[in-house]
């Protein structure tokens, strides 16, 4: 190319802003400043927050008298002694199936809750949601609501800003320490550990646990917030797969709201058809996840329902029916959408995106309200009936059935457990007078919180006699074993059968154990082994 040709072409010193190379591989978190919402769901969430936090912080301090041989903490996971205490229930390691049962119930509970009320766990009772809410309370207290906080963020560092920030972080840290601290009280006697913790006598692992949980509470509640839900938590993915067209989700009813306009009065004057949405963005500013619910169902939405509160407030202010944003199901939404739009049947849409755009355009406000401005009554709204269907009934039945089975098994369980282990090597010993001796280990599990004496009776070997290892006394066929409260005791016993009384190489015997003072009885069948030809 010669210079002559070049000079005829004008060149620009510029580069495409969105050139692929300029696009960032990583995106910084954009801070969200949720505005305080008010309404029915916010009230409900305050209550749930109070109850869940109350349970978490107070439970380890509840006492439950179990007598002098067991701890008096109502809920205690005693890892060192391998016991789990829950009020009147005490679980031993060999009863861990109860915990497995609870986990199965939790699984079915997840199916049940998700298929009826969608991601209610995320929106109301997930610790992440509850603690972020708690952190926001103090953020608002020190820094004001959304607008003041945005201003404060942008403002230069002044004494007043520093004071606000420092107070907020001190409170956050105190909450975090209390949260991390409360956790370890579930694993040891709370009052004792509390004193040890502050006098520097607690175990290293206790301090480490408190430190780690304090750090996670502080970072997740104060800084990461919605990032935890969107990027770290598997729940949004798992639960999305469990929703169906009958599950309740927070829904923007665009069949009613569109076309939206900020200038409703002007549009009405000019006779332009409009929907109910006044595009005030109230639903956007209250959202703790920083999304616009009007874009439809999104992975980020935790269904906290604060946008419902915000929108209902606006709707009542301008004299329209509440529920422009509401709990609804996909099935109901589709039915209402069909009633409200004039979508040509068999529309040949190229793609999902094109279809949703066409659907939106086809909404006809005249089909939503009659001339007096009332919503047509044929629109469907979610009610309690929505959640009662075969799937949820089956889940509920299964849930109750397992719960019932666990309770029945818990109430009827024996507080005495006997195991008899025959010596494997040697399986018998011939004594000098020709009699045969077998060794057994008899394990008695005393699950009562008091020491007990057990009568043991040998049946099935008429002339046999018992000796306890280490004691030369001939006990005949009846003896007693003392077992401490809440303990397992293994006792080695020898059963000897005189030569003349040996009837076979493998003779059945039974050990009958019963607690002195009550009717609790347990039996164990074992064998008495003799060599060939001992008879």
């Amino acid at each position: 190319m010669d210079t002559k040709t070049q000079s005829r072409v004008e060149t620009f010193d510029a580069q495409a802003v969105n050139k692929k190379e300029n696009r960032d591989l990583y995106e910084a978190r954009k801070k969200i400043h949720p505005k305080r919402a008010e309404g029915w769901y916010r009230q409900l969430k305050w209550w749930i927050m109070a109850v869940t936090l109350g349970i978490y912080y107070i439970t380890p301090w509840l006492r439950w008298d179990r007598g002098e041989y067991a701890p008096d903490q109502a809920v205690l996971l005693d890892v060192a002694n391998r016991r789990f205490y829950f009020f009147f229930i005490e679980i031993w390691p060999h009863e861990f199936f109860y915990v497995a049962g609870l986990l199965v119930m939790a699984g079915i509970g997840l199916f049940l809750v998700t298929s009826t009320v969608g991601r209610a766990w995320c929106g109301y009772s997930c610790p992440q949601t509850v603690w972020v809410d708690l952190f926001l309370v103090f953020e608002r207290f020190f820094e004001g609501d959304r607008n003041q906080r945005i201003k404060l963020d942008a403002a230069p560092w002044t004494i007043s800003k520093i004071r606000k920030r420092v107070s907020k972080h001190i409170i956050w840290l105190m909450i975090s320490i209390a949260t991390g601290g409360a956790w370890i009280f579930y694993f040891a006697d709370a009052p004792t550990l509390f004193v040890e913790l502050f006098s520097g006598q607690a175990a290293f692992v206790a301090y480490t646990t408190v430190a780690v949980l304090t750090a996670t509470t502080y970072v997740f509640g104060g800084f990461m917030r919605e990032q935890v839900c969107t990027y770290m938590c598997p729940w949004p993915r798992i639960q999305a797969a469990m929703l169906d067209e009958n599950s309740l989700t927070v829904t923007y009813n665009d069949w009613r709201g569109e076309p939206r306009t900020k200038h409703a009065k002007k549009a009405k004057r000019e006779g332009i058809p409009i929907g109910d949405c006044v595009d005030c963005n109230a639903c956007v500013v209250v959202c703790p996840m920083g999304i616009d619910i009007r874009d439809g169902q999104q992975l980020e939405c935790i269904t906290c329902a604060l946008c419902i509160d915000a929108c209902d407030g606006v709707m009542s202010k301008i004299g329209l029916d509440k529920g422009l944003i509401s709990y609804s199901t996909l099935g109901i939404y589709d039915a209402n959408m069909a009633l409200a739009s004039t979508l040509p049947e068999n529309m040949a849409a190229k793609s999902e995106a094109e279809f949703s755009i066409a659907k939106m355009a086809a909404i006809d406000p005249k089909k939503v309200r009659d001339d007096s401005g009332k919503l047509f009554s044929h629109f469907v709204h979610a009610s309690w009936r929505t959640v009662v269907r075969l799937r949820t009934i089956i889940y509920t039945a299964l849930y109750c059935l397992i719960g019932l089975a666990l309770i029945v098994s818990l109430l009827t369980r024996s507080n005495l457990n006997v195991n008899v282990l025959h010596d494997r090597n040697p399986i018998f010993v011939t004594l000098s007078d020709g009699s045969i001796r077998n060794g057994y280990e008899i394990k008695i599990l005393n699950m009562l919180a008091e020491p007990s004496r057990f009568n043991v009776r040998l049946e099935g070997l008429p002339n046999a006699f018992v000796k306890i290892a280490g004691d030369d006394k001939n006990l005949g066929q009846n003896f007693t074993i003392d077992v401490d409260a809440d303990k397992l005791r293994a006792t080695r016993i020898y059963i000897t059968v005189p030569k003349a009384d040996i009837t076979g190489t493998n003779v059945k015997l039974r050990l009958v154990v019963n607690r002195q003072g009550d009717n609790e009885e347990a039996t164990y069948d074992a064998n008495f082994v003799a060599p060939n030809g001992a008879k």
Partner: protein, 289 residues
């Protein structure tokens, strides 16, 4: 290369990966994720500096801590040794016959004795202490040298018929047949007598002859009624048990050309406390006197 395209709804470019019509959007990653990635690299560097990490040709980098699983084991072992030092001292100071009266020492002895037994004794006496022909069963009530704790302790400490210990138990039965101390038919008669006194099938006529021969030749060690002599380690012949087998052929072999068991002097090898533990453990197996 896969087919990258712009997703219509979100306006984001896809990675080109597609599963059953579901396409993966190429959204930017959160920046904090990048920070955690860097943090893990920093942690790894610290780890490599602190712990042994990089293999070299003949060695490895030891790290500042110099800690290895071996050194941890050594520490734990010395801690365990230190933890039981007081019990070891106590067991050495307590008279052997009184160890069993102390609950702590009894538990310590039985537990320690059991593991010592597994290492040093099972080769001859069997894993269940059930013995084998020539090696006594330690569960029963038949003892060659005596079955109280102190005697068991002495037997274990000094051993039997070994050259290591001057105090080892020692005795030897003459080879009555081999050395022609008895005629072959006399040997047979003695064996019939032994079968008789141990309540086994026997030839009564020969046993009567044998009784006289027994009184002359055997009773000095095995006792007048064949009930054994513990000072010589001479087995009780009148009971249901026999060391080398209670059948005629085995008894004949033993009288003609006796075998003698040997046991090392464990006192020199294991030390005082361990021998005491073993003695109490053996005594606890059911035959202790």
């Amino acid at each position: 290369m896969t087919n990258r395209e712009i997703d219509e709804i979100s306006g984001v470019e896809t990675t080109g990966h597609e599963w059953d019509g579901i396409k993966e959007l190429d959204n930017p990653m959160p920046r904090w994720w990048l920070w955690t990635f860097y943090a893990s690299i920093v942690f790894a560097i610290g780890y490599v500096i602190y712990y042994p990490a990089i293999p070299l040709i003949n060695s490895y980098t030891t790290g500042i801590s110099g800690e290895t699983t071996r050194s941890i084991l050594a520490e734990e072992l010395s801690a365990a040794t230190a933890a039981k030092a007081s019990l070891v001292a106590k067991i050495e100071a307590t008279p052997v016959s009184e160890i069993r009266d102390d609950d702590d020492l009894l538990r310590f002895s039985v537990a320690g004795g059991r593991s010592l037994y597994k290492v040093y004794c099972t080769q001859c006496h069997g894993s269940g202490a059930q013995g084998a022909p020539g090696y006594p069963n330690l569960n029963d009530d038949d003892w060659l040298w005596g079955g109280d704790v102190e005697t068991i302790y002495t037997t274990i400490k000094h051993g039997v018929r070994n050259d290591e210990d001057d105090d080892a138990r020692f005795s030897e039965m003459p080879g009555f047949g081999k050395d022609e101390l008895l005629e072959p038919n006399e040997v047979r008669s003695v064996v019939e007598y032994v079968l008789q006194i141990s309540d086994r099938e026997h030839d009564a006529a020969k046993a009567t002859e044998g009784k006289v021969i027994f009184a002359d030749n055997c009773a000095a060690c095995h006792g007048e009624n064949g009930k054994g002599g513990r000072e010589f380690g001479a087995p009780n012949l009148a009971d249901a048990l026999s060391l080398y087998g209670g059948i005629r052929a085995k008894l004949l072999a033993q009288v003609n050309s006796p075998k003698h068991g040997v046991m090392p002097a464990w006192g020199q090898r294991l030390g005082e406390a361990s021998v005491r533990q073993l003695a109490v453990y053996i005594h606890s197996l059911g035959g202790g006197e």
